[in-house]
């Protein structure tokens, strides 16, 4: 289908004082689904809007299949965008919403009817053409919004937090459906979300953004297991990030110590709850035990107040107030915003 190339794109607001996107480069391969993931204000939506033509980059270039579209308005780009608020036109019924773009392309009425019916079938809403948009549920509205973009057969599909306004159950169902449709059509897709579970479930690659810059880009499993910075480690999944000091090859934070064969200095030790074992001892006190049925989460407080989270297979074995030792099975260490050590099991 198409390749999207974003090269050294920068976007500033307020006469240059705010850099929403800062020297960002990324290539999205043919048929690939890439998620832009980051906290609010990280620049992911601004970047998506620049690809869609709703913002003009201050610097850099955007190419689709080699064609420079950096300055092109939205109506001249081969992109289709699905908005967070659905943005359906409430004065039109579903058919008219979908047919609007096709009419602008001056397709014959029979062709418009055929394509609209086909796309409604694809998104699981056959026979909904005559419905008004306010007669649809949130999930159905989002499907119509997706269909409105897909019916024009864009080269690049842009999704701007499309499931943010839906409840958890519907969100999970729709993201599977969208992923299925994307894979069936093999359409190159850029997807903005601040939900890590959404990104991990849908993306071929995830771009973690922070302050307008790319923090790391990798496949979901790589991003989860080998985060390159403490920010990514903390942003993807749950991570215990303990600041401490390495001296003579040992990381120390209060009574918690761990062999880390790196040079002396400050460091951050990162360990996932599922990689943190517990044993009766005296490093910390159990603050709370939460039983999720399939597993338990144990909060352990060090004497200085720092709290570790450990995932245990059987919550009933542990009680609040109990004194325990922490036994990381896999961990990473960071210094100066980069990995300095990864234990065997963590890599």
């Amino acid at each position: 289908m198409a390749v999207l190339e974003i090269q050294n794109v920068t976007k500033t607001f307020g006469s240059g004082s705010v850099r929403a996107v800062d020297d960002f480069s990324l290539t999205v391969g043919d048929g690939e689904l890439v998620c832009l993931l980051g906290p609010s204000g990280s620049g992911k939506s601004t970047l998506l809007r620049m690809v869609g033509g709703f913002e003009t980059p201050t610097g850099g270039s955007i190419r689709i299949d080699g064609d420079d579209v950096t300055k092109a308005p939205p109506e001249k780009r081969p992109t289709g965008m699905v908005f967070q608020s659905h943005a359906l036109w409430t004065h039109m019924n579903v058919f008219k919403n979908l047919a609007f773009g096709l009419k602008l392309r001056r397709l014959p009425p029979e062709e418009i009817k055929r394509r609209v019916e086909a796309i409604l079938e694809l998104v699981g809403l056959p026979g909904y053409g005559t419905r008004l948009t306010h007669q649809l549920s949130g999930g159905q509205q989002q499907r119509v919004a997706l269909a409105r973009s897909l019916v024009l057969e864009p080269k690049i599909l842009l999704l701007d937090e499309p499931f943010a306004s839906l409840d958890q159950h519907l969100r999970e169902r729709l993201r599977e459906e969208v992923r299925d449709i994307q894979q069936r059509l093999k359409i190159t897709t850029l997807f903005v979300t601040h939900g890590q579970d959404e990104a991990l479930a849908m993306a071929d690659r995830i771009v973690v953004m922070r302050d307008g810059k790319m923090e790391q880009v990798a496949a979901p499993d790589t991003l989860y297991r080998e985060p390159q910075t403490p920010f990514v480690a903390g942003f993807i999944g749950t991570m215990n990030l303990a600041e401490g000091v390495v001296s003579d090859g040992t990381f120390t934070r209060g009574p918690f110590t761990m062999p880390v064969p790196v040079g002396d200095g400050a460091a951050i030790l990162a360990v996932r709850p599922e990689a943190l074992g517990l044993a009766p001892g005296g490093m910390g006190d159990i603050h709370r035990v939460t039983d999720f049925g399939t597993h338990g989460i144990v909060d352990v407080d060090l004497p200085d107040g720092f709290r570790f989270k450990a995932m245990v297979p059987e919550a009933r074995e542990w009680k609040a107030g109990q004194k325990v030792d922490l036994k990381p099975r896999a961990f990473s260490a960071y210094r100066d915003n980069a990995v300095i050590y990864r234990s065997q099991a963590a890599s």
């Binding site: 109506e75 908005f83 967070q84 608020s85 943005a87 004065h91």
Partner: protein
């Protein structure tokens, strides 16, 4: 177990309590709306009925009151009265069209622009609301009247004089349009507030240019606001007095000055009231149109 009887009693008494509560709330609601409703009846409904009765229940030559449509027959057969009605309708229509043509671009600019300039433009657009009509009229005379500022400037530039709109039908049109800009802009702006940026971006995304977005996305969404703005403009302009009185021609004249002159100078209250009832008849059509628009808006 001990909770059960009390619970049952509570259940048994609650429907009756609900009925009493609902009735009390109903009376309270009526009491709250009573004052404005009575005022409307006293100050608006009663004078309307009294005016209509006064024009159709008139004394004959013997001084006996009887039903007669003579005053209406006179109005609709009198060339001068019809000319006045026609100039009023013409002024109203031209002003309403001009107001929409002028205010819609201003409202669109204010809605979709950001920064400091739109704030200044909005202040400028709202400014006429704080200028009394009489001041506006004299400012008009000083600027566009004979030997006004425009004439002086044209003379300084060795250009010919313009034909002043002062004391022509265009005088009230210019004044009334200027006077009604703030309200029209505010109503349209409020309607445009319902058009989300994303619905416009979605239209542009599927290939719509700016004019297509305006025609197919924005205008259908603000249709009710346009109707409300037009209704307000028509109601205000049809019954305008000061601006048509000061800036308009002596003949034909708009219904406002015509009524005043008939009453004060011709000492003919029946004809003046007849003119008022006829004016009201035209205004009520637009009033009902406005009420219908608002009701439809609330339903959707």
């Amino acid at each position: 177990m001990t909770d059960t009887p009390a619970g049952n009693i509570a259940q048994a008494t609650s429907p009756a309590g609900d009925i009493v509560g609902t009735r009390n709330r109903w009376y309270l609601g009526l009491l709250l709306v009573a004052a404005p409703v009575l005022l409307v009846c006293w100050l608006i409904i009663y004078p309307i009925i009294a005016a209509v009765v006064q024009t159709v229940w008139v004394p004959d030559a013997d001084g006996v009151n009887r039903l007669s449509l003579e005053s209406y027959r006179f109005f609709f057969s009198d060339g001068y009265s019809l000319a006045n009605l026609w100039i009023t309708l013409w002024t109203t229509l031209v002003c309403a069209i001009l107001l929409l043509l002028i205010c819609l671009p201003i409202a669109l600019y204010l809605r979709f622009s950001e920064g400091r300039l739109p704030a200044y433009v909005q202040a400028l657009a709202i400014f006429p609301m704080f200028v009394p009509s009489i001041i506006l009229s004299y400012a008009f005379i000083r600027v566009l009247g004979p030997n006004g500022m425009l004439d002086i400037l044209l003379n300084a530039a060795h250009l010919p004089k313009i034909r002043s709109p002062y004391l022509t039908p265009w005088g009230p049109v210019i004044g009334l349009v200027w006077d009604h800009i703030p309200l029209t802009v505010l109503i349209l702006l409020s309607g445009l507030g319902n058009v989300s940026n994303q619905s416009i971006e979605a239209a542009r995304d599927v290939g719509a240019g700016r004019l297509i977005v305006l025609w197919h996305i924005i205008l259908p969404r603000i249709g009710n606001s346009v109707l409300v703005a037009a209704s307000f403009a028509v109601l205000g302009i049809f019954s305008a007095f000061t601006i048509p009185y000061v800036l308009g021609p002596a003949a034909p004249e708009m219904m406002g000055p015509f009524m005043q002159r008939t009453f004060r100078e011709l000492y003919d209250p029946t004809s003046a009231i007849t003119q008022a009832v006829i004016s009201f008849g035209f205004c009520i059509v637009f009033g009902l149109f406005y009420v219908y628009s608002v009701a439809r808006n609330q339903r959707t």
